[in-house]
Symmetry: C2
Subunit: 229 residues, 2 copies
């Protein structure tokens, strides 16, 4: 791994939060993997042998029902970790993971991550923080599915793409296919198009892969975001 890549990895959630010594061990023993769009990163039920830190691109986590219907659980991107239920002791992956764009990821052996948990309370805290963030994201996802209508879900998705603290008018780039976005927020691609159309009178214009938001605060109010968000 070259120095530029190591520096990029140090900004990722898992590695960035670890004390330097533990972060260096992860960087030294991790290996860089490339996945083409559509490639499987891991399958549900397969032994959880690696945790992946996404360096570039987007990974879709999903389940498949007995009749073959797909449910997108989450779509994670640069700096985020996947497969980390293993650090809570899960012997197998809970969901399928598929590269939804080209993906570059740092592959870390679960055994290495687990051994670092014993190293210091700070390292353990950094490793568990990822699992906590996932728990939190899943809770927010359930709130969204239970409370919000299509236009609110679409607006909330657009707001989630903003860098922290960004307000007022701004443009956001849609990071992956509209079909994946639709699955991510629990609707059909047609419903997503209708939702974007309905957002026009809330000051949102979607053209190609860019969404222009006239007023992010106004849009947040429209989404009726939960009090703890």
């Amino acid at each position: 791994m070259n120095e530029a890549l190591r520096n990029a990895a140090r900004r990722a959630d898992l590695i960035g939060m670890c004390p330097k010594e533990a972060a260096d061990i992860l960087l030294d023993q991790g290996s860089v993997r490339m996945f083409e769009r559509g490639a499987t990163v891991f399958s549900a039920g397969a032994p959880a042998q690696h945790v992946f830190v996404i360096m570039a691109g987007w990974v879709k986590l999903y389940s498949v029902s007995a009749r073959g219907q797909e449910a997108v659980i989450n779509v994670l991107g640069p700096g985020q970790t996947i497969g980390d239920a293993a650090v809570l002791g899960a012997p197998a992956h809970m969901v399928h993971a598929e590269a939804t764009t080209q993906v570059q990821a740092l592959q870390l052996p679960v055994s290495l991550v687990l051994s670092l948990m014993d190293r210091s309370p700070e390292t353990r805290g950094a490793i568990l923080a990822g699992a906590r963030a996932h728990l939190n994201a899943l809770v927010r996802e359930i709130e969204m599915l239970k409370l919000r209508d299509g236009a609110q879900r679409a607006a909330r998705f657009l707001l989630s793409l903003l860098p922290p603290g960004q307000g007022g008018a701004c443009d956001v780039r849609l990071p992956y296919d509209k079909v994946v976005i639709a699955g991510r927020i629990g609707m059909s691609p047609e419903s997503l198009s209708r939702a974007f159309a309905r957002l026009r009178n809330r000051g949102v214009t979607v053209e190609g892969n860019t969404a222009r938001i006239a007023d992010t605060h106004d849009l947040s109010r429209f989404c009726d975001l939960c009090e703890t968000e």
Copy 2:
């Protein structure tokens, strides 16, 4: 805590999985709390000072939107743990917890549970297994919300009440109010009544607080359960 209560607590997920020595420390330092129906166990955003092991009754975990709409995230019962995102380092509770029936719970200081994580890998594994179970339950919940229609959700809820391994014909007791059940599976009370009515031709009869299932395997197939379930 009397011996009967200690034995009951030893069957709970968190305590039952701990090595005996750690379990005894939790039992010695935990205190028994009673909550009346409707009482607050903890509030979202409040400092996470305690983890609760439910001994009897049911606790509703929920969020409230800016406009005051409530989203039920989960309803947990005997043997299950609430507030345990704190063991992953969360400084504050993510959601509100309210007793939906009368509740008896064992209250454990977060600091005590955290200190036991350093005691042995077995104890740490037992403590983290609870967080893993929650992560898993939230993933299954999202699958349910994204994939299934009302009758499938209602059927899946009934199946979740069966003891593991139970099959064929059986009766299940509805553990809490139909209003809470409806919120739990993301629908209105009226939609839940319609869903139960639609399940009649799948061999399900709901009368008062009892649901009679003619064939659990048949009902599982109807629910189109995910391949990893």
